[in-house]
Structure formats: structure tokens, C-alpha cells
Amino acid sequence: MSIWEYANPVKFMRTSGAALPWVVAGAAICTIAGLIWGFLTPQDYKQGATVKIIFLHVPAALMAINIWLMMLVTSLIWLIRRHHVSALAAKAAAPVGAVMTLIALITGAVWGQPMWGTWWEWDPRLTSFLILFLFYLGYMALWEAVENPDSAADLTGVLCLVGSVFALLSRYAVNFWNQGLHQGASLSLAPGERMSAVYRYPLYLTMAGFFLLFLALLLIRTRTEIRRRRLAALLARENRT
């Protein structure tokens, strides 16, 4: 039993089809329960009710970065071992990642307006998220533009590698350029720094919910891509005969 078995599309379709209802149910339960729990938490003494935006903002931001990392890993697998499912998974993940980045940016703006008195600030974290969003857009545009699917997978894979390096570089370069307004890490293991358990546990739940949500969307979209690939192959065979 190894993960490489799922490079076989038939095997992947069978397993993902069986797992999908469970993942969808888990995503729905965790996200809905986490958001309702988060909504019922007491108001923060300083931030008031706006503190509750954290239950959307932090999971979305977390996923935005990790989806790019996942795309990096699947692109590497495609470039090294030429497994088609891997390339299709990277393609399927990109729009989800872009939307997660957008959610993080928008909820951040909605929170920043009452708290910082501004919708947007050229703060290192905010700026690097905007740059990340641009990378997602470029990546998706390249997938759309190249017609041959294998070339498209190769080119986007290379772009993803280069983009990862530069996203990281930009992340630290913007620190040099402007001082931060954004608070530090939301979740810290040091007892003095971390937030109260009242907020922490619902946050864990919504984070799990967003992760499962991403997994469900990823599986659905990858299955769609595989079916589209099969359809194209069928049509090509029809036309030949």
C-alpha cells in the first residue's frame, strides 16, 4: 500500500469516490459547527464583535498558503515522476487557493476598517498576500492559455517552482520596505502569547473545517478534470475512426 498507487486514475477515481461523501460531510459539520460556535463566543474587551471575523480570516489565510505548498509538491511530483493525477490536482487546487486568498484579503479589510481605521494598508503581510493572489492568477491564466495539456502541465509546474521561490523572496523583501501593522502569529505554543481558549477551540474547529472543505473541493475538481481528460480522449478516438 503506497501513495503512488493513486497515480493510477482508475484507482484514484474509485477511492476518491468512496471517500468524497465522508469528506463533504466532515467539512460541512466542522465548518458550520465551528462558525456557529465562533459566533456564540463572548465579545473581546477591545475588539468587540469584530473579533469573530478571525474564524473566517485565519483558516482562509492558512489554507491560501498551504494550497500553494500543495501545488508546489504536486508540481514536483509531476515534473519528476510524470503522474497525470498529480498535475491535474495542482490545476484543480489553484482556483480554490485563489478564492481562499481573496477571502483572507476581504475579511481582513472588513476587520481592518473598524480596527485600524483603514480598509487597506501597505503592510508586509497584506502586501505579500496580494502578491500571492497575483501568482495564483498568473498560474491559472497559464493553464488556460496553453492548449496541449502535457505542455501546460510542464510549464505551469516550472512556473509554480519559480513562483514559490519569488513569493518567499517577496515575503521577506516587503519586511524591509515597510513596517508591519498586522499582529504576529495568531496561534503560538507559548502560554503567555496565545489567545484565550474561548476563541482557540472554535478556531481549531473552523481550521479543520476549511481544510476538509478544501479537500472536498480538490477531490471533486480533480475528478472533473480526470473525466474531462477521458472525454477528450474518447472524442479524439471518435474523430479518428
Binding site: G138, A141, S151, L159, F166, S170, A173
Partner: protein, 217 residues
């Protein structure tokens, strides 16, 4: 070497687009005062940023020509089968692009600085930062051109792919000039800028060559 001379000759002969980048840079620097008003103090405050963004956009202008013409007449396929490794070919293309765009931009930047009332002490830093930074712009541009070479709608996509990659260079380049204006020590920013350029020159040729191989398959 022969390839470098051929590229330079093609660029400088009629229709090669030599000087186009400079003209574009001049137009950007002319339009900005119309947009923000002609007061000297305001202009000199934003001059470092405008000069760097202008140089960056001028570099972008000629990127889609790097491989497009060679791809159309088939000489790119010949270059690919030549004994010169693809990485070397890509690096030479970047060097040629830099010699006809980046270097003239850097050397003529003081003139455009005058137009924008750039304060006196910043001039050497402006030229130094452009000379250190523009090779990275050319190299990244060659990567973008290699990715989009076979595409019909390549031009717009090229800008979308390449501009986010320019962010670190722009940050440190403009920061160096801004510190020069303020009289602070711009060496830190210049050192970072040089580091990014060296990093790009060392690694990006491999990515560009890989993309080019895919497109020529």
C-alpha cells in the same frame, strides 16, 4: 558569442526596436508630472519610485520579441539543436536583451531624473541600482518569454507572469534610491539588490531552458 553579436546586430538594425524602451521611459517620465502636478517638491519625493517603475515597464515592453521572431522563422529550433547548451543560449539572450535595454536605461536615467527633479545626492545611487537590478529584470523576462513563446495571446500573459517576479528587485532598487535621496546609507539595499540579481542569474536560466524545451517539443 556569435549568438550575442547576432542578437545585438538584429536589435540595432532597422525595425529591431532599439531605443523603443528609452522612448517609452521618456514618455512615462513626461506623463507623470501631468498626472500629479508640476510642483518640484512633490515630484522629487516620488521620483525614485517613478524612475524605477518606469525602467521596469520599459524592460517589459520588448520581452515578447526575445524569442518570438526566432520561433517564427525557425532559428530557435536550430539554436536548440546547436552544441551550445540551452541554459547558455538563454543566458546569452538575456545578456543581449540587457545590453540593448537595461544598460541604456541605466546610463540615461540621470537625464530622466533631471526631468523629475530628483535631488542631487541620489544620482550615483540611481545609476548603480539600475545597473545592479536590470540584469535580473532581463533574466526573469527571458524566463517569461520562454514560457509564453508558442502562445497566440502571449503578450498580456507575459506581463501577468513576469510582473509579480519583479517585486523583490523593485523593492530594493527603489529603496536604494530613496535612501540616496534622504542622505541615508543605501548600501544595505544595494547589497540585497545585488544578491537577488546574482541569485536570479544563477538559477533562472535553468527554469527558462526547461520551459523552452517544453515549448519546442
Amino acid at each position: 558569442m556569435a549568438l550575442l553579436i547576432r542578437d545585438l546586430r538584429l536589435a540595432t538594425r532597422a525595425g529591431g526596436g532599439f531605443g523603443l524602451a528609452l522612448a517609452f521611459f521618456l514618455i512615462v517620465c513626461t506623463l507623470v508630472p501631468f498626472g500629479v502636478g508640476p510642483e518640484g517638491g512633490q515630484l522629487s519625493r516620488i521620483a525614485p519610485g517613478i524612475l524605477w517603475v518606469g525602467a521596469l515597464l520599459s524592460c517589459l515592453l520588448s520581452l515578447d520579441r526575445i524569442f518570438a521572431l526566432d520561433h517564427d522563422d525557425g532559428s530557435l529550433d536550430l539554436l536548440a539543436t546547436a552544441p551550445l547548451p540551452m541554459e547558455g543560449m538563454v543566458a546569452i539572450k538575456a545578456l543581449a536583451h540587457w545590453l540593448v535595454t537595461g544598460l541604456p536605461l541605466a546610463l540615461s536615467a540621470p537625464v530622466f531624473g533631471l526631468l523629475l527633479h530628483l535631488p542631487g545626492p541620489a544620482y550615483p545611487w540611481l545609476v548603480a541600482s539600475l545597473i545592479l537590478g536590470t540584469p535580473a529584470l532581463s533574466m526573469l523576462g527571458v524566463f517569461g518569454a520562454a514560457v509564453t513563446v508558442g502562445l497566440r495571446r502571449g503578450g498580456l500573459l507575459l506581463s501577468l507572469l513576469v510582473l509579480p517576479l519583479y517585486v523583490p528587485t523593485l523593492i530594493f532598487g527603489a529603496e536604494a534610491v530613496r535612501r540616496g535621496v534622504a542622505g541615508a546609507d543605501p548600501m544595505t539595499a544595494l547589497v540585497f539588490l545585488a544578491a537577488i540579481t546574482l541569485f536570479v542569474l544563477a538559477l533562472v536560466p535553468f527554469a527558462a531552458a526547461a520551459a523552452l524545451r517544453v515549448n519546442l517539443r
